[in-house]
């Protein structure tokens, strides 16, 4: 009987938190719908960009491009633009250079070298491109190559690093490490701040002679240090256990880890400002973490998502975080090579911190 009374009392308490109750169902449904839409309506290989430098402009190059267009998002560009898309913007995993005289040589049954400039860090897109190239080569070879001579020899050239081979671990280890750091930060920041309210620590801190920015900043700084250590240790674990490459510059890796975790910590403070109870923190935290992870390419490569989702992904902190880590690890970039990502993540962190400072009702109870 007493158990029943306790249960009824707790149910009454739970039922007072309407946002928390709604969050139990609404938030997971929203996440399921969003992720299902993102993963089921993907464009497949059609979403993969393949810049083509058509220096031939002849019938064979045209036939090849037509065959590629059946499977890929082919864009005819100049050589410098192709280099930019692969090596600098990392929008494309590879660019194909169709040399001058390709058609003449092909029609005269003379072999030609076709150059494929690659970014092996985008190895999954690259694999898909190579499969499509094989198909297109077979289709085109059947047009004028009766005994399947190798009239088109593809010369692969990595323009972003020394390594040509990658595995799914290179996607999964950094991706899941980032996802867990984000999840941990959202939960730890929001739950810790709520618990301080419950214990009335917030009230006591509010009347202390410390500016709100210093107060919030100090708390987030502690999380930043823990989160950075967590991320670096997870990557080091991946390095020693699974042979994950960490790049050539430890300073760049540490800088990226700090910038990524700083952006995530400040973002976690914004999330914390919206949740009012522990019950709300869990579904909201999970929803935010899963949506950011799936849209930002932490679970699967970005090209597998519909273009609209890819466009959203371009402005997400997780996309920039993954890109910065891949730049250091696989493209072996130095500190200057990742300056854009560091600036964007820094701006993300600062903006989030200012929003959190504005929204956060820290010490509301002491005030009232």
């Amino acid at each position: 009987m007493k158990t029943l009374a306790v249960m009824l009392k707790d149910l009454r308490l739970i039922s007072r938190d309407h946002f928390g109750l709604a969050g139990l169902l609404v938030v997971p449904i929203v996440v399921i719908v969003v992720i299902a839409a993102a993963t089921q309506s993907g464009d497949g290989s059609k979403g993969i960009l393949l810049p083509v430098v058509n220096e031939d402009q002849g019938p064979v190059a045209t036939a090849l491009i037509r065959a590629f267009r059946e499977h890929l998002d082919v864009r005819e560009v100049t050589r410098s633009k192709a280099h930019h898309l692969v090596a600098e913007a990392n929008d494309a995993a590879a660019a194909l250079i169709l040399p001058p005289e390709l058609s003449k040589r092909y029609l005269a049954q003379k072999p030609s070298n076709v150059e494929l400039l690659t970014d092996p860090a985008q190895w999954q897109e690259l694999e898909a491109i190579k499969v499509v190239m094989l198909l297109a080569d077979r289709e085109t070879a059947s047009l004028g190559d009766p005994f399947s001579q190798e009239l088109l020899a593809v010369h692969e050239l990595s323009i972003t690093g020394d390594h040509l081979a990658f595995s799914s671990l290179e996607q999964n280890i950094p991706g899941f490490s980032l996802m867990f750091v984000l999840l941990t930060l959202i939960f730890s920041v929001s739950l810790a701040l709520r618990e301080e309210e419950v214990w009335n620590t917030s009230g006591r801190l509010w009347i202390a002679p410390v500016a709100p920015a210093s107060l919030l900043g100090g708390k987030l700084l502690a999380r930043l240090i823990v989160g950075t250590a967590q991320l670096l240790l997870l990557l080091i674990f991946g390095h020693f256990v699974y042979g994950l490459r960490l790049g050539h510059s430890p300073i760049a890796m540490i800088a990226v880890a700090i910038a990524v975790v700083a952006a995530m910590t400040c973002f976690a403070a914004v999330v914390a400002a919206f949740v009012r109870t522990r019950e709300q923190a869990i579904p909201v935290g999970l929803a935010v973490a899963f949506v950011l992870a799936s849209f930002g390419g932490l679970f699967w490569p970005v090209y597998d998502l519909p273009r609209s989702v890819q466009a959203i992904g371009k402005v997400l902190m997780t996309t920039w975080s993954m890109s910065a880590i891949q730049d250091v690890m696989f493209r072996e970039r130095s500190l200057t090579g990742i300056s854009t990502e560091l600036l964007v993540l820094g701006a993300y962190g600062l903006t989030s911190f200012l929003i959190a400072l504005r929204l956060f009702r820290y010490g509301d109870e002491a005030h009232s």
């Binding site: 058609s103 029609l107 005269a108 004028g144 009766p146």
Partner: protein, 195 residues
């Protein structure tokens, strides 16, 4: 008197015959213009392939080209193998040539000239694209009132010689039966798609 009349009649028929036969360049132009109409048409790729194969079936002397391509290997084939080889080679050559022609979306032919040599002729043509031009020459032999192509040269490379060197290379690595099996697998379905 009768003897003189017979000679006059023979000369008249010969002249009449030669007057009826089109010039090699004109005949080639007629064939290529028909090919151009097919290539530029709205048919599917396979329908164009079939139409062009039918057109070039009467223009290309694939038996002569096949024998030339095999060269010294010809004698090592039995008569049954020779017959099957020529059947498959006809399909191979037509498809190789026709598929190359189909690479051009809207081929523009230019006729550079003709050189008459005894009973034969060489017609030089160009396929002109907005950026480039491709030299294609036809060696023709008179066949009744018409002409028949016994060799095609694309960008100074003979199609027959090229196929001949590939066949020769294959025959150093495989038997005649294996070669015929390979050709049967790729070209044993006349009118079908190239595998």
């Amino acid at each position: 008197m009768m003897r003189r009349l017979t000679i006059i009649m023979a000369v008249w028929f010969a002249l009449a015959g030669s007057a009826q036969a089109a010039a090699p360049l004109d005949y080639t132009r007629t064939i290529l213009q028909q090919a151009r109409t097919i290539v530029a048409g709205n048919q599917t790729h396979n329908e164009k392939l079939a139409a062009l194969s039918a057109l070039f079936g009467k223009f290309l002397d694939t038996d002569a080209m096949g024998r030339e391509a095999l060269g010294e290997h010809w004698s090592s084939f039995t008569s049954a193998q020779q017959k099957e080889f020529l059947d498959l080679f006809r399909e191979l050559l037509q498809r190789t040539y026709v598929q190359k022609l189909l690479l051009f979306e809207n081929p523009d032919f230019v006729y550079a000239g003709q050189q008459l040599t005894g009973n034969g002729a060489t017609v030089d043509t160009k396929i002109v694209t907005p950026r480039d031009q491709f030299d294609v020459s036809y060696r023709l032999t008179r066949a009744g009132d018409n002409w028949i192509a016994t060799a095609i040269t694309v960008e100074d490379v003979s199609l027959t010689s090229n196929l001949g060197s590939q066949l020769s290379d294959l025959l150093t690595r495989m038997s005649v039966d294996d070669l015929l099996t390979l050709m049967r697998r790729k070209y044993g379905n006349p009118g079908g798609e190239v595998s």
